[in-house]
């Protein structure tokens, strides 16, 4: 039988947005309007919060975790009568994945892009031409000094 992992729960409690999982009384109100659940029934925000209450580390932040299928729509945040904010708990868990190195590469890619260029989209010649054609000024980004300091802190 699996045991409650209090250590993991404590870590989640300390992670920004993670503490509210404690308020969940498993009513399931967050499930009905979850679009990820609608198209992928194995994904279930109530079940994810239950796993958090048990502290099931591997299921939640292991490499095969379901949580990455959340589409960030905030419907569960709207529905929950207990202010659990399931989406924010999921985001806290995602941050724990990154600490563990089990996050999908898309997360590192986006952070790396912002770190190196300040934005997530690469400047292309095509769009540069389109901007000219539309009579728009060149799009300048002057944040690298600040960002370097923030990222190297």
């Amino acid at each position: 039988m699996k045991k409650i992992n209090y250590e993991f729960r404590e870590k989640l409690n300390q992670t920004l947005g993670g503490f509210s999982h404690n308020y969940c009384y498993q009513c399931g109100a967050c499930v009905a309007d979850c679009p990820a659940h609608r198209f992928l029934p194995e994904f279930n925000p109530r079940a994810i919060i239950l796993q958090a209450l048990y502290g099931f580390e591997e299921e939640l932040i292991g490499p095969d975790s379901m949580i990455w299928n959340c589409t960030n729509c905030y419907n569960c945040y709207e529905r929950c009568p207990q202010a659990v904010n399931p989406i924010e708990v999921i985001i806290a868990l995602k941050n724990m994945c990154r600490e563990k190195g089990t996050n999908p590469p898309s997360v590192d890619n986006i952070i790396e892009r912002v770190k190196s260029s300040g934005v997530t989209v690469t400047k292309t010649e095509l769009v540069k031409r389109r901007r000219q054609e539309l009579g728009l000024p060149e799009f300048e980004i002057n944040c690298s000094d600040d960002l370097e300091k923030i990222f190297n802190k």
Partner: protein, 295 residues
């Protein structure tokens, strides 16, 4: 009226036609845009926030602090930027401990978050500060025979306690803004559905967009109207993917709200970059043209 436009990444670097349309519309409404090249990515509320929430707060606070230095409110034109900047602004205004922590991070770059400005999506600012009447007055060609299926997207309205726009279960804001252009907003089954962009599993994203396409196709709409470049990405370029995946032949033109408004105010199809859209059936262009000419 002066505001600071926060263009984000997708609009200026992928869909500049949206920027062009917004600039056109706001000139007509006598709103002056004060640009600032020091802004970075908002940063992204999906992946960046999922990977490094503390730096996500810090970078967003930096962006807000830049506008605070000029004493101007920020307007956002992308629902993702809206999500990040509104949420961070809200939490830092209300949570003193968090604000101190973030300001500690900002010290090294000589900036401080004060909590002195508002951040809103442009549609919210238009509704609340400009007013529907003034927008209606700026319309030159009423888009009488255009029917628009609305896609709200997720982050204009939710979480409602932070966004404070209106009840996300029965929103009216986009219908109202469409009506003032003379066009007709059309209800459809999935108008509150998510575009699906953030799911890890590709098939899940495709299923969500497919549900929206089917719903729009079943309605009487001529096009799908929205206010976010990420949703646009899912529905314009994404329509090709969905068609392949589901063996369907959807051909639903997708329009950014400010392209419509600019057209109604007198912009040309070239001004709003219609030709840059992947899905743009001839028939719809004809319909737009007759509307603009006969008016």
């Amino acid at each position: 009226m002066q505001v600071m436009p926060f263009w984000g990444c997708m609009i200026p670097l992928k869909y500049p036609q949206m920027e062009s349309a917004v600039r056109y519309s706001l000139t007509k409404l006598e709103i002056e845009l004060v640009d600032d090249s020091r802004f970075s990515c908002c940063p992204d509320p999906i992946y960046f926030k999922a990977g490094d929430k503390m730096r996500w707060f810090t970078l967003a606070a930096r962006n807000i602090a830049i506008a605070e230095e000029r004493g101007l409110d920020i307007i956002t034109m992308c629902s993702g930027c809206t999500a990040t900047l509104c949420e961070v602004n809200h939490h830092l205004k209300h949570d003193e401990k968090l604000r101190d922590k973030i300001n500690e991070n900002l010290k090294s770059i000589g900036r401080e978050y004060k909590g002195s400005i508002r951040v809103r999506h442009l549609v919210t600012m238009l509704r609340d500060d400009v007013g529907l009447e003034k927008i209606a007055d700026s319309v030159k060609y009423r888009l009488e025979n255009i029917k628009i299926a609305i896609h709200y997207g997720c982050h204009l309205l939710k979480p409602s306690e932070i966004m404070n726009v209106e009840d996300p279960l029965v929103p009216k804001i986009l219908a109202e803004l469409i009506r003032v252009t003379g066009a007709t907003p059309v209800n459809h089954q999935e108008y509150l559905m998510c575009c699906g962009k953030a799911c890890q599993e590709q098939q899940l994203s495709l299923n969500m967009s497919h549900a929206v396409f089917q719903s729009v196709a079943d309605s009487e709409a001529d096009c799908l109207g929205l206010i976010c470049p990420t949703c646009f990405d899912s529905f314009d370029l994404g329509q090709l993917r969905v068609n392949r995946n589901f063996s369907k032949k959807f051909e639903i033109p997708v329009i950014y709200y400010f392209q419509l408004l600019a057209l109604a105010q007198g912009a040309s199809l070239e001004n709003v970059g219609i030709k840059f859209h992947k899905i743009m059936p001839e028939e719809f262009i004809k319909r737009l043209n007759t509307t603009l000419v006969t008016a």
